[in-house]
């Protein structure tokens, strides 16, 4: 259940965004990805989930040895990948509960499991909503339509809890949340941590990492991992910002990395043209 990303290059409209991103996430690990705006964090998340808005120009992504990039978005989801969107899409006219049941049943069908009927599904969804302290009336509304920023993020985590992915990517799920909402979201994520499930948590803020404790922290800058380390790196960033990135090419990124999964992660950081931006 290992995700291996090797030298990934991604463009949008001919403009390079990711320039040699290398990362390995082993089962059960939580990786935090931090980094300045525009460094490619959301692009990375979207590409992992299978967005066709980007062009992969080089490198590879394998998931349990399979070529993830050759799979359509829905196939990746059915293989157990989940992206909590930074900006969840509002879709008027699609009923939230119906949507989520359709998604769950598509995945269950793929795995040879019986589909859930409306009654059983609703019981499950309400159960998960309760864990997130989310009013179950949101299940009966149009998908994300008119939801506040925080409600949308909760709805993302609700979907994650229902779909029970094996690898979840959370793209700035904490931004725009107050401290109570943050705690609830973290509770949702931690409820899924079982030693086998992996997480990639993209965030700007150390405070989320107090609640979802990562095994490894990476700094993405200029389209590649500029530095990796343990939780201490996040604290350092909180204190000093990304100014230290100017020194990234003289400090080997792997140095100070505690997690096994980070072995070799910083390899590509030195000499990355965009690393010092």
């Amino acid at each position: 259940m290992t995700l291996k990303i090797n030298d990934l290059h991604v463009e949008v409209d001919g403009k390079p965004i990711l320039r040699g991103l290398t990362l390995e996430v082993k089962p059960g690990e939580v990786h935090a990805i931090m980094g300045p705006n525009g460094s490619g964090k959301s692009t990375f998340a979207q590409v992992l989930a299978g967005s066709e808005a980007f062009t992969v120009t080089g490198g590879s992504v394998t998931w349990e040895g399979r070529d993830l990039l050759s799979l359509a978005a829905e196939e990746r989801a059915r293989e157990g990948l989940f992206l909590a969107f930074q900006y969840p899409v509002e879709i008027p006219g699609i009923h939230n509960a119906y949507f989520l049941r359709t998604a769950l049943n598509a995945q269950r069908k793929h795995r040879g499991l019986p589909e859930l009927d409306a009654v059983d599904f609703l019981a499950l969804a309400k159960d998960k909503a309760r864990l997130l302290e989310m009013d179950e009336k949101f299940l009966q509304r149009s998908l994300n339509e008119g939801f506040s920023g925080g409600e949308k993020k909760r709805n993302e985590v609700l979907q994650m809890l229902v779909l029970e992915p094996r690898l979840a990517v959370l793209d700035e799920t904490d931004s725009g949340l107050d401290i109570d909402a943050l705690r609830v979201v973290a509770k949702g994520v931690n409820a899924l941590r079982d030693g086998k499930r992996s997480f990639i948590v993209i965030t700007h803020y150390q405070r989320l990492l107090d609640l979802i404790v990562p095994d490894v922290v990476h700094v993405l800058a200029g389209g590649a991992i500029a530095r990796s380390g343990d939780r201490g790196l996040a604290l350092e960033l909180e204190k000093h910002g990304y100014a230290f990135l100017g020194r990234a090419d003289v400090v080997p990124a792997a140095q100070g990395s505690a997690g096994q999964g980070s072995a070799g992660l910083g390899r590509r950081s030195s000499g990355q043209p965009g690393a010092a931006r």
């Binding site: 978005a73 006219g93 598509a106």
Partner: protein
């Protein structure tokens, strides 16, 4: 090249029709001199005017010339056995509805169910004998107004028709369904169903007209429905067109609304090769209100035109329109929405919205709002959009494991379903949602790349 007698096949059919009526005792119209004169006059006007040329803007360059020389088979003498519930999801979902069924243009009373209390019905043949003066007046009305060749044909080929009445003050909760079924094995047929509807003062009625085709013959359905809603009356009117993909379907709904009368007309078009659904509303009494909603779904090389004409003739009447189009393949569609505010019709409030979804780069749609305002102190607005499926929304659904085909269907359904949302009757809404899901599914071209 011109022929000596233009529209000769139509004349042959017209002469044959009088003969056919005599053959089918008790079904056809009685040979009353005024009726014959009305029919013949309409026919001669049709022959003189012909079909609009393909340059006629009102027909959006639809080529009607093939219809000049079209000829159709005679109506079958006996109706084929048909299981209605099996073919019409409207009926299936509205088990308590009172229904009247026609099969291949012939009444099929065995498939009907009793009409709800407060609703009565006469065939046109019965009406011609019992209430000739009233019928004569009603039938002549569309002829006097701005009329196109299909109105003339409707009168010329008047045959099977109904006069439906909802008694004053009657609040009829169960809907009435008039179902027209075309079977597979006969045809091509030209059918001209005529429906007269009267909703009495303070009465309420829900009426469905459903047109279902099981075959792919080059039929013509030319349906004309005339409605009169008296003061304070309320009519919910739903047309569902699910004809076979060889059919040309022309449907005209003409409504006259009295003081404080309300109409909610919903036109849904899924089938047929060529569809033109017109809705014409005359707001004749102050405080009258009309909601005109519509949806067309086309694919392949099919085309659909939805046309509305709203005539605000008195002060303080209101109208709302929401028309949507879903187009795939190389289909073409158009919405033409005319709103006229007559001199003196102050405090008119008329709004119109048209939204179109193109699922293929080769599909084309036109949106043509036409506002003619001859009064001061009125509110009139219109808005139109033409767009494609939202890629971020599609990705969002797919990222949850929903296959691309199903994700597209969900988005198209979400777009289209808005026109059903304003139906007050929950059972009717649920019924139409099933029809909608089926219609969208059938019309979706298979094998398109994501």
């Amino acid at each position: 090249m011109t022929t000596a007698a233009p529209r000769a096949p139509w004349r042959a059919a017209f002469e044959r029709r009088a003969h056919e009526n005599r053959l089918s005792e008790g079904e056809g119209l009685p040979a009353l001199p005024w009726l014959e004169a009305l029919r013949r006059a309409a026919f001669e006007r049709f022959v003189a005017e012909g079909f609009p040329p393909s340059t006629d803007e009102a027909w959006l360059s639809t080529n009607l010339q093939p219809f000049e020389e079209a000829s159709y088979a005679p109506l079958p003498l006996a109706t084929a056995p048909v299981g209605c519930a099996a073919i019409d999801p409207v009926l299936r979902a509205l088990p308590k509805a009172g229904r009247i069924v026609f099969v291949d243009g012939r009444p099929a009373p065995a498939l009907g169910t009793p009409l709800p209390a407060g609703v009565s019905v006469l065939t046109l043949a019965e009406a011609a004998l019992r209430e000739p003066a009233a019928l004569r007046q009603a039938l002549a009305l569309p002829e006097r107004e701005e009329a196109h060749p299909f109105v003339r044909l409707s009168t010329a080929f008047l045959g099977q028709g109904l006069w439906l009445r909802c008694a004053p003050g009657a609040h009829v909760t169960e809907p009435v369904v008039v179902l027209h079924v075309r079977t597979r094995d006969v045809g091509p047929l030209a059918l001209h169903p005529r429906l007269l509807v009267e909703v009495g003062t303070q009465a309420r009625l829900t009426l469905f007209e459903s047109y279902v085709g099981l075959g792919a013959r080059a039929d013509l359905t030319n349906a004309l429905t005339q409605v009169e809603v008296a003061a304070g009356g309320v009519l919910e009117h739903v047309r569902v067109q699910r004809e076979g993909h060889g059919t040309t379907h022309v449907g005209l709904l003409k409504v006259r609304l009295g003081r404080d009368a309300r109409l909610h007309a919903l036109a849904l078009s899924f089938g047929a090769a060529l569809t033109r659904l017109e809705t014409e509303v005359r707001l004749l009494g102050e405080g009258a209100h009309a909601d005109l909603d519509g949806l067309f779904v086309v694919d392949g090389a099919r085309r659909a035109d939805l046309v509305t004409r709203v005539e605000h003739l008195v002060p303080r009447a209101t109208s709302r329109q929401l028309v949507k189009g879903v187009l795939d393949g190389e289909s073409r569609g158009a919405f033409t929405g005319r709103v006229r505010v007559a001199p003196g019709a102050i405090k008119t409030d008329a709004r119109q919205n048209n939204h179109n979804l193109l699922l293929s780069p080769r599909a084309q749609v036109e949106s043509r709002p036409q506002l003619e305002i001859d009064a001061d102190d009125v509110k009139c607005s219109h808005g139109a959009t033409i767009g494609r499926l939202d890629e971020p929304a599609l990705f969002y659904l797919r990222s949850r494991g929903i296959p691309v085909v199903q994700a597209r269907e969900l988005l198209v359904h979400a777009f289209a379903a808005e026109v059903l949302a304003r139906l007050p009757d929950g059972a009717a809404r649920a019924a139409l949602d099933l029809v909608l899901a089926g219609g969208l599914h059938e019309a979706r071209s298979p094998g398109r790349a994501p």
